[in-house]
Amino acid sequence: MSELVEKTNDTAVITLQGELDVNNVDNLKSAIEAELQEGTGKILVDLKNVSYMDSAALGVLVSGLKRARLANAQFKLANVTGNVENIFKLTRLTKFFEIYTSVDEAVESF
């Protein structure tokens, strides 16, 4: 798994790639935490190139959403598709997250 953070003004787009699981999810946790610490008000996580997520990875996103709410920041997701989308639906996380079909659409929504 690798992640890239692109920042423009008050918006951070965290782009993830590969398999996200209990063994590597601390990187994502740190990236989200760093943005919240810096006071970033709009955080978008792009899952376009994520082929696999386990519950630890879902947990980090849920935790990110909750922490963002506490910090009055917005936390959104883009490109939740395929098998990853099936797991979001199964766990009903789709009803908690604002999910967009592209990064552009998500960024415009902020």
């Binding site: 209990v22 696999y52 519950s55 630890a56 959403l65 098998n83 199964l90 766990t91 908690f96």
Partner: protein, 148 residues
């Protein structure tokens, strides 16, 4: 057992055995082996993802709740299909027996990050059984039908 290595013994196209130290870094190699095995035995992409995720959650739970940390104990898996093509995965650990009542599955009406693993494991497989008959250790059986 070599610590950082996944040991694999192929019995036949329909049966493999694996053993590993309880390390999170070995969960991905297990997933990769399961993917190959399930693909060769006719499971589709969605089923394969579900099998990998259920086993991932089982192993992560053993390391976190059974062994209470990494590199504490061993885990053995046997993976086989029966004559109907259905998959059975037995996961044996040697940890103190976990009180299953204390492991709570997630309440889906709340935005919670705890309990997701157990919920997923139970939801993604057709059958989940725990065999606690031994003094130490738990044998978890996960079953997935080839044709739902």
């Amino acid at each position: 057992m070599s610590k950082e290595k996944l040991n694999v013994r192929v019995v036949s196209d329909e049966e493999i055995h694996m053993s590993m130290r309880g390390l999170r870094s070995l969960i991905k190699p297990i997933r990769d082996k399961l993917e190959d095995f399930a693909q060769e035995n006719g499971f589709n992409s969605r089923q394969i993802y579900e099998i990998k995720l259920a086993v991932n959650e089982a192993l992560a739970n053993i390391i976190k709740h059974g062994y209470k940390g990494e590199d504490v104990g061993d885990i053995e898996l046997s993976v086989e299909t029966n004559n109907m093509g259905d998959l059975e995965i037995a996961i044996q650990d040697f940890a103190e027996i976990v009180d299953m009542a204390k492991l709570v599955s997630r309440d889906l009406d709340k935005v919670e990050d705890r309990g997701l693993g157990l919920f997923l494991m139970n939801s993604l497989m057709d059958e989940v059984e725990y065999n606690l008959s031994q003094e130490k250790g738990t044998r978890l059986i996960l079953k997935k039908k080839l044709k739902p």
